[in-house]
Each structure stands twice: as C-alpha cells, then as structure tokens.
C-alpha cells in the first residue's frame, strides 16, 4: 500500500489532468463564437446574433446539431481506421499540455500545500512536445486513407506532406530555443527568460526574432490554418482528408484543429515570450500583484486573436508555393540561423538587459 503522501501527489496530478483536459475540451465553444464574431466585424456584418444574447449560445446550438446528425461511415471505408482517425488526430495535441507550465508554483493558503502549475516537468520536455505533436499527422493519414475516397486520399497525402515538411523547420526552431535558453525542460526555458520583456527569447538579438518568425510560420502550417489551410482548399480539391466525415467525428476533427491552435499559441508564449513572465519586470511595482497565470493567459489570448485575424486577412498559398516556402526558404534559413546562434552563444552571449547594465543603465 503506497503511503498517504504518494496518494495525495497522484490525486493532485489527476485533478490537474482533469482540469486541463476539461478546459481544452470546452475551449472550442467560446473560440468558435469569438472567431465568427471577429469574422463578422472584419467583413462588416454582424456574425451570429440569433441564439442567446449576442449569439452567445450559437456554439451550443451547433454542438447539439453535431450530436444529433447522422453519423455516416462510407460503405467501402475501412471502418476501424475510419473511426480511429479522429481520436488519433485529437489525443497527441492534448498530450502536449502534459509538459506545459502555466505559472510558477503556488501555495494554497490555510493548508500550506505547494502546487505546481504544470502536470509534469520532464527533462526532455521540448523533444517530447515535438515528438508527440508529430503523431497528430496519423489522424490525417488514416482519415484520408480509410475513407476509401480519392478526394480524401489525395487531401490526406497533401496535408501529410505539408505537415512533415514544416515539422523540420519547427524542430530547428525548437533547437534554436534550446540553444538560447540552455535547457530542454519547459519550466527552465521559461525561468531563463524571466525579468521583463527585454530578457525574452524573442529579443535575444540578433537571432531571436528570426527564430520566432520561423516557429510562427511553421506553427501556422502545422495547425493547418490560413495561409496554409490546405485541408479546406476547396478550389483545388473537394476539401481534404475529412471530406467523408460527418456529425460527431467531424466535430472531433475540428476540435483537434482548435486545440492545435491553442497549443501553438501556448508554445510560442513559452518559447519566445517568457511564459508567465511579467512584461515590465518590476518597473511598475503594482504589477507584481498580478498573478503570473494572468500574463500567461493574456499572451496566449493575444496569439489566438492574431491567428483569427490572419484568417480573415490574407489569402491561402497554392500547394507548390507552400512547399517552396517550406523547403527552399524556411529550412536553409533555420540551418544558417543555428550556425549564427551557436556563434553568438560562444562569443557574445548577452541579452539586452546585460548590455544596458554594461553601459550603466539599470532599468529594474
């Protein structure tokens, strides 16, 4: 029989898993509403406004519709893989959040129990994230193949090729982050950037901004959003790998896409924007009282807004353009940047605050 302390640790961990998992499952509900309202604003129309005040209940209505629709499995489909594919698309993206730190350790008042705001701190965290997010591609492959339809098959192949191409650039950007922060653990990556926005990896000059842009573009391609949303490109193929899916299974696939968007936003914040770090450091004393989780959520929210904004602003790339960008621009650029980062790490490992301190300027 394990001791009571072990049981408490396991219990707390299970609770954290439940909270994070539940939050991610529910996240698409408000996110679809925000996205449609935003689309309305950008295109000068109202967006959803019929169901509930400001159309707030629209996602719920959509969910009920998805639940009661007929679930069609094509007669000649491989029914086992067809049913497995949405789960394979969804599970890896949820698994990313196992290593994501949402904030520093907090102590619960009255009982004095210390709780860390991450499920686990792996010493191989960043490789775990890359490895697990790479598994999401099986949802596309099996979904496209099992449908036994030429459109789904070609769409699946196209999306798979896109994802594995941009995974290379994304992994290189992660290598850059590891070089800048000097650790593979996500918690250490965040703490290495603490102390105001000048210490963040995005401002690790001159290579930081380039890594950020590479990761952002690769991330956009990984989560299949505009300008890289090939699965939805009805102009060249009738949609993509999910063309045969309906009802709940389709809802799961789009849920996976929304959670992927959240995960990319979270990773960008952890890798480049200092995670839960207060942007102004202790420059303004009153900001110290803001809980760090607030900063984290705020930054993630800003990125999600940015992704939605992009969707209604720029057109999508053609497939060959997408491949050219991936292989002929992103990968050579990241290889050169790795070399540059290594040189800087050896010869001039300074962040902006270090330089400011050297000239006698101490901000905080």
């Amino acid at each position: 029989m394990p001791s009571i302390d072990t049981l408490i640790v396991v219990g707390v961990m299970l609770l954290k898993v439940l909270i994070i998992g539940g939050a991610l499952f529910c996240a698409p509900l408000p996110l679809t509403w925000i996205e449609r309202k935003l689309a309305g604003r950008i295109q000068q129309r109202l967006g959803p406004h019929r169901v509930g005040p400001f159309g707030l209940l629209q996602p719920l209505a959509d969910m009920i519709k998805m639940f009661v629709k007929e679930d069609i499995v094509p007669a000649k489909a491989d029914s086992f893989l067809f049913k497995l594919a949405p789960i394979l698309a969804m599970a890896p993206i949820f698994a990313i959040f196992v290593v994501v730190p949402f904030g520093p350790d907090i102590t619960i008042p009255f009982i004095d129990y210390k709780v860390s705001l991450y499920i686990t701190d792996m010493n191989v965290g960043i490789i775990f994230v890359l490895a697990i997010s790479g598994l999401a591609v099986y949802g596309l492959i099996f979904g496209g193949w099992a449908s036994n339809s030429k459109y789904a098959m070609l769409g699946g192949m196209r999306s798979t090729a896109q994802m594995i191409s941009y995974e290379v650039a994304m992994s290189f950007a992660a290598v850059g982050v590891v070089m800048m922060s000097g650790s593979l653990s996500l918690v250490d990556i965040v703490t290495s950037q603490s102390g105001g926005f000048l210490n963040w990896n995005i401002l690790y000059l001159p290579v930081g901004p380039l890594w950020f842009v590479i990761f952002l573009i690769a991330g956009l391609a990984e989560m299949n959003r505009i300008p890289f949303d090939m699965p939805e490109d009805e102009g060249s193929l009738a949609a993509g790998y999910h063309v045969e899916y309906s009802a709940m299974r389709f809802a799961f696939l789009s849920l996976a896409e929304y959670v992927a968007m959240v995960s990319i936003a979270v990773l960008l914040v952890v890798f480049f924007l200092g995670g839960w770090d207060n942007p102004l450091g202790s420059l303004i004393p009153i900001l110290d009282y803001v809980p760090p989780v607030f900063w984290f959520m705020g930054k993630v929210g800003a990125f999600i807004y940015f992704f939605m904004w992009l969707r209604f602003t720029i057109p999508r790339y053609r497939y060959d353009q997408l491949m050219t960008i991936g292989w002929k621009i992103m990968i050579p650029l990241s290889l050169a940047n790795i070399l540059a980062t290594g040189m800087i790490k050896i010869y001039a490992d300074y962040r902006i605050t270090d330089v400011l301190e050297m000239v006698g300027l101490k901000l905080w």
Binding site: D78, F80, L81, M122, N123, V124, I127, F128, L130, A131, I132, G134, L135, V137, Y138, I141, F142, W145, M153, M157, T160, I164, E167, L184
Partner: protein, 166 residues
Amino acid sequence: MEQLFFIGFAFMAVVAAVGVISLRNPVHGALSLIVCLLQVAAIFVLLRSPFLAVVQVFIYVGAVMVLFLFAVMVVDLRRVELESPFNARGIFAYILAPIAVIEIFAVIFVSKSFDAFTTVATLPTKIETLARVLFTEYLFPFEIVSVLLLVAMVAAIVMTLKKGRS
C-alpha cells in the same frame, strides 16, 4: 510494480509485433508496428532513459513510419491482400525462427535473474551526461555516423534524379 508495467508493455509489444507480420492489410500492419514501437518507447521510460524513449517516438513513430505509410498507400492493396503471405524463402524462416527462440530462452534462464531493473537504477539519467559523453569520448564514432548519414542522403537524392537531365 515496475516489473508489472514491464510485463504489460512487453506483452503488448509482442502482440503488436505478431500483428505486423500476420495482418493481411499492410496499413493495419503499419498501425501495429506503430503500437509496437510505442510500447518499446514505454519500456525505455521504465529503464530510466526518457531521452531514448522520446527520440524513439520522434524518429521512428513520427518520421520513419509516416514515410512507410506513404509508400504503402500508393501500393495496390487488393492485389497485395490476395497474394499468399508465404514464399519460397519460408524454408529458411522455419529453420532460423526456432533457433532464435531457443536462444532467447537460453539467455533468460542462464542469466542470474529475470529482474531488468536492478542495475538500471544506478545509471545517470541526465541528458547533460549523455551529451557530454557523446561529444567528447565518442566524438569520433558520432562524426563517422554523421558522415555516413550525409552520404546516404546524397545517394538518395542522386537516385531520384532523372536520367538525361543535367
């Protein structure tokens, strides 16, 4: 406890491995191979090497198997499924397989204990240690392997070049 987990993962790995060679549909076979590789990764975690486990998932499951499936998908499946899974080379397999099985059991019975975890607990788990050893003591083999991979990559590109075009 660890022994229990090990037996569970190992059992699943063997079941999946049998699936790889016995399932008639190549895509189902590939799926069982993925399951098998994931179980092996789990065993690496039990052996206190999370780095190897994650790299196993990253390289084999995330990259190699995707390329496998790419190749399998463009094959005409109906013909493959109708073909007999046995061919003339089967005779060698009938001889070699029992020998391999006997060998495995011999190793298990000759070795002092069946416990895989007694020696492992003392090994270092930090990645820094691994990196330091890899880039100092084993730098030469590491570089040789890198050059070999580069040569293989160049060869792959050369093989796909169309003849007659410069």
